[in-house]
Symmetry: D2
Subunit: 346 residues, 4 copies
């Protein structure tokens, strides 16, 4: 059995990780930390876990954490980088769900997160946890930086086109919408049911922290070395809990051919990316609670503009299920262990 | 592998059964019937099944159905009874999720369902599919009549008190609320999102079909043979998809003692009934997608009145997951096969 | 023009009061206070008010408030009583939406609100702001204590039966459900959309602060002087914003006759209580944003038990619209001024 | 009093029109037609109207309709054009909320609506009911063709830029999302609460009927005569009832200057278009039930791309309230009669 520890288990990515791990046949959860809830039973905070896990939150301690085979960080940004050095030095294998080690350019990270990076020396060693691109590196990684939710949906939605070099890359538009769980389990007025139910809005239009991650990720697979990827990213907040829908607009160049065929081929061996049949579009509910990304391609009126639709569950493929997919790879388990279930519908 | 067939797979109980069965390690789905959708792929109707099942709906045929080891009926009332005789005669084992074989009193059935019963001769042989009461009979049953959703939540909520003989039984009040999936996947104006979102109402107050089933079930476990069970049942419609919450009011008699202890003892070996700690109350989301019933007991101001709260997922423990629990019992499989996962939360 | 001031305008009852007052032809809003948001424009907090009101929140000051013709308190309990004495002494007319002056028995108030009452000397002078019972007293009141949301729905639902003396009064059951706006605009984890969407639960089952107010109100209209009213009150939380649905169970006594006729007669001249036709039940959406209470009566299976259904909008008839109805009465305006609009539907 | 008739009063635009008209001081509703519901009281279908209107649905008859001062059509496309000729010939003034007379190019109409136009001779005389552009023509119109919901939000969102000639017009992208009431009160499986709650998806991506109307409307105000407007329009379905949010992407040309100032100036005298302060974005709830359009402009990273956000209530400014605004203009009433109330919030 793999002994797993979770640092910061009181947020929604922590809760989702716990939900998935309790069904994993090769994993035993040994430690779940939270300074604020130390001593409280996990299932008092998350009643769905009653009967599934018999643990209390504890204070995070290096000694205890390094006795785990794998440590997940499900913490706000800034925490993982402040604790990472001694863990890595002692040989721990770490999967960080936060933003701390995603951006390779430390100055960019510091600009968007408005703080000094506490552990820049480990950034280069961190492997970006998107298995559809970095599967081999993840297998042997000591430190995995899991992608953000929006970036996951956008990169899986655009990768085949970028690799093929079939689109103009400098003026991509990503119009995305997310369920409110993406904003975390935080006691803020702006996240109340009474403030968000039966309403919809854009936010972060002037700039969102996921933009540099999206651009970094897209540039990494861009076949057109002459032209950097440029993205306009506009996120919106949905009056619901789980799900991201990215509607991506890209202009085809003259090389562009049968995009549907391109996508079906690109993802034919990927267990967690599903290309929908021509003319059908994905619903976020079709991936709820799963590690799946479902993608559709449309070319309205056979014009220059391609419209890509990509849906994921922001807490699952956008966070905790993808982290578990990475863990499966790191420990040489079947990649889909504990990730095989169909979405709840209706 | 157990070959399973589903008659009427286009409704929500059918969809939920499919979702659960595709993860069952000992089951192979061989036939799913629908006259209306015959020839259509299942995953065109239920996009969550893409990648999980590679079947089309077919017309129901006795020959094909009897080649299955188990046949589920997920049909509106009236259908199962019209098809049942030849299936039973040929030795098929059948699990009926509809109301057709639940009521032992055929006159009562005909009164509430306003039609002549098409197969009264099999009613007596049908075993009521509530494992917490009829586990042994279910194991050897040829025909199982699965309980209705409201009746499941009420019977599990009240059984220990009735068995103990601690309450007055003739004036029980059940104030229940259900998510809208309980009304089925029917194209009716009254079920539209725009008609139900952000609203709440009672319905069926003058009489609801689940009332005679509730009374039959409660009488069967009532320790007080002198006084029949009498129930006032008022269902309400919640602006959400899944979940039943029954708030049950019963008057303690003089025998009544520590109810919390009674319930904890009564359900200590039941894998799917969870008695919450004193002073905590169940949320429907804590059982979403699972076969669990969670129960709480309160006695406000230490008065005569007991308040029982019982939550289930109407499509799961209230229908398809419970049907699967019965199947596991009938085929001598672990009772919790394919039913072990934690509820999705948030 | 009546000059109106609002103390504590940042919560939902304050917001609702503002929404209604900006459409009142005889009212000018002159002051809206908030210590926390002092200096901020009202329409930055409540975007629906853009173009309707050109004010900023200010600090509460006695001088400024007493220049108003009417002062509304839309504050948490404890605030109004701490500020009331000097206002009343200077002759201000005050409408308090909080719980501070509702309960005549100060010991009971102090027990349920767990603090010492800061202004017991004014409690007796406060008129309970339920116009259907206290219309005349309200007209000349200096201090009006507006009813709570649940108590409004319950009192209007039960009053005719209690006045007629047609029910047993000691074992009434109130099973009520409220939209989440009733819990206020507070930054608490338990009120997040992600914690409440698609879920339903009971709360406060062992005891809720509205219980003594309900009992006080019902006793005041109870025709049966020999038997005090006894209520079991179980509130539930709905996954929606506005609306209260009270399902009330009362046992008819031998005097009980045609309840539908009784209710139609009792409320025939009441502008804001609507008795629905026999056999139809109220939906909360049918009163959203209005000052209406809609009531239905059912007697299932012609038994002893009466089931009353009463719906209001908790922020409107349950708080701010009823406060405005009181103001109209106090200032000899048409009782329905600014309260005539139909509910938004769908 | 203006006598108003409504043809087809059983859908959501009919219901919203009724809700608004019952509060209009100069309007008396005399006829509401529905073949399907003839003889049924309006308030049995729409419980919010109880106490506000005492009418039954009747069969549509020319004689009866022409006795009205104004006739509204709130019918599916095809109906108004089939009944229009005799009404217009007899001098009736008609406001059509359907798509029948919106498109000037009859071939385009017939292509998108897949039927032969039944009354092409009146198309040219119909005035497009967008007061912000056609106010003067509406005043004297006999037949007004009210804009669609999406087209209203897009035209108001883009008009100032197009008039100024500050954007490239051939590659505009409109990413829009609508509440489900936009799909009407139709008994379709795809509109059920259980099919849409907690989910989000795009639809009509390959082509939507509102596209030609959007392009016709934008071309009419386009200052750049050399380049026709070209739009990619992708609508999405929100899990809520009311509200449209259009996120519009347009590339600035070299003339482009201070867009915020341009919009504030363009709409400074418009009673129903609100330009939000820099850096703030509109929420759909802020216009719920009102005739308002709220607009924001952002220019992310000071790049070439402008992002415009435009919100309306699809049933109000997107249909019935705008129709009422047109009626006010046609009958020389204050333009905002019965349209002055603040949105319900929360």
């Amino acid at each position: 059995m793999i002994k797993a520890g979770i640092v910061g288990g009181t947020g929604y990515t922590g809760a989702e990780l716990l939900r998935l791990l309790v069904s994993h046949p090769q994993v035993e959860i040994t430690t779940v930390t939270s300074r604020a809830e130390s001593g409280k039973r996990l299932d008092m905070l998350f009643p769905n876990l009653r009967g599934h896990v018999d643990l209390q939150f504890s204070n995070p301690e290096v000694e205890q954490l390094t006795s785990c085979d794998v440590i997940f960080f499900a913490t706000p940004h800034g925490v993982a980088q402040s604790m990472m050095k001694p863990l890595i030095d002692r040989g721990a294998r770490v999967i960080d769900l936060s933003a701390d080690f995603r951006l390779k350019n430390i100055a960019v990270w510091e600009h968007w997160y408005q703080q000094v990076h506490a552990c820049p020396e480990l950034v280069e060693r961190a492997v970006y946890g998107l298995p559809e691109i970095y599967r081999e590196q993840i297998k042997s990684a000591q430190l995995v930086a899991c992608p953000g939710c929006y970036p996951t949906s956008v990169q899986l939605g655009l990768m085949p086109l970028l690799k093929a070099g079939w689109i103009h890359t400098k003026d991509i538009i990503v119009n995305a919408a997310s369920g409110i769980s993406g904003a975390g389990r935080n006691a803020k007025t702006g996240l109340l049911l009474a403030e968000n139910y039966d309403s919809f809005k854009a936010y972060g239009v002037s700039g969102h922290r996921h933009l540099p991650e999206i651009e970094q990720g897209l540039n990494a697979v861009n076949a057109d070395s002459a032209e950097a990827v440029g993205v306009t990213f506009v996120p919106h907040l949905l009056p619901m809990v789980r799900g991201i829908h990215s509607t991506i607009y890209a202009r085809a160049n003259t090389q562009c051919d049968d995009v549907q065929a391109l996508y079906e081929k690109a993802y034919q061996d990927e267990p967690f990316v599903d290309v929908l049949p021509r003319g059908t579009y994905p619903e976020t509910r079709s991936v709820k609670g799963t590690n799946l990304c479902r993608v559709s391609i449309e070319r309205p009126q056979d014009g220059e503009l391609l419209v890509l639709m990509s849906v994921i569950d922001n807490l699952a493929k956008g966070a905790s299920a993808q982290a578990l997919q990475c863990m499966n790879l790191m420990f040489d388990l079947p990649e889909n262990s504990a990730l095989t279930h169909a979405a709840l519908l209706p």
